[in-house]
Symmetry: C2
Subunit: 177 residues, 2 copies
């Protein structure tokens, strides 16, 4: 056991499932890809997500008091990279990526037709944690494809993953078979 | 896209990396396996963990104001199952699993010699979220094996995983190769 730099430590923490925070408020909507999400209550069902305040989507979630957590599959790796490297204040991420917004049942934000699964969440708490905010969302509806595919993850070079898209900063992939 | 029961939804969310919350307070120490963890700040580095208040380890973390987040590998699947199905109020999980507690550098809780990696964390915030608490920990030291192995995960039947241990309720595995 050797001590190491915390930055180096995070590179060990693979796989990390990717999720999109989707929010809509006062006629504006956007998509923010996240790796930092977790469940945080079984009854009632809740999820927690960490979002940087600088993100355009952060303001939409705070304003609307709700978000959709949408889980992309392999077909949306490029869209995930696009949404992670552009701001919703500059571009319409729905138009640019070509994803289909479907009306949610309980919240203003849309669900994403092409995603493997979608959770509709109402914000019940918001906390500041270092350089991010935690939004705690109560899950008020859940959706999935009829035949759900693999979830897109941040991965390493292991043989059990199929790499879908990579650059210098990240490697997206799915678990094989 | 079809609506589904939230309980059914969670079964889609694989892989989920397993981590152990390790805590020590006033001469008592224990280990609580968790699936619900995430990073929540880059600078300063922070993690958030969701722990049920009924867990013995919950009281130790709250009392000590610190915890270690230790990441087991494939060799600790059985120990993870044991720690998840017994209470530290009844048994000494270190003695029962045979894991080696090493002194941490910054916190009272020990690091685990057999784990792939360990994070020492000081609690900076605690929130109640439904039937769990979120402890937000600032990472004050990080450790890893010289040659870190694969992280133990909750997995499904996909070919890219090697199943290490399963019963009716869970399947632990690692990503192949």
């Amino acid at each position: 056991m050797k001590e190491l730099d915390v930055g180096a430590f995070w590179r060990l923490l693979k796989p990390e499932v990717v999720a999109w925070a989707v929010a809509e408020h006062e006629g504006e909507r956007s998509i923010c890809p996240l790796g930092w999400t977790m469940r945080t209550s079984a009854t009632p069902p809740m999820v927690a997500i960490s979002v940087a305040p600088s993100r355009f989507t952060h303001g939409l979630i705070a304003g609307a008091g709700a978000f959709v957590l949408a889980y992309p599959g392999r077909e949306l790796a490029q869209a995930t990279a696009y949404c992670g490297s552009h701001s919703g204040s500059d571009v319409d991420k729905f138009a640019e990526t070509g994803v289909t917004a479907l009306p949610a049942r309980q919240v203003a934000a849309p669900i994403i037709a092409e995603c493997v699964a979608n959770l509709e969440c109402r914000v019940v708490e918001r906390f500041t944690t270092g350089d991010h905010s935690i939004f705690v969302g109560e899950v008020v509806a859940a959706w999935a494809q009829e035949d759900p595919g693999k979830l897109l993850c941040l991965v390493d070079e292991s043989a059990g993953y199929e790499t879908v898209l990579k650059d210098e900063r990240f490697r997206f992939g799915v678990v094989r078979g």
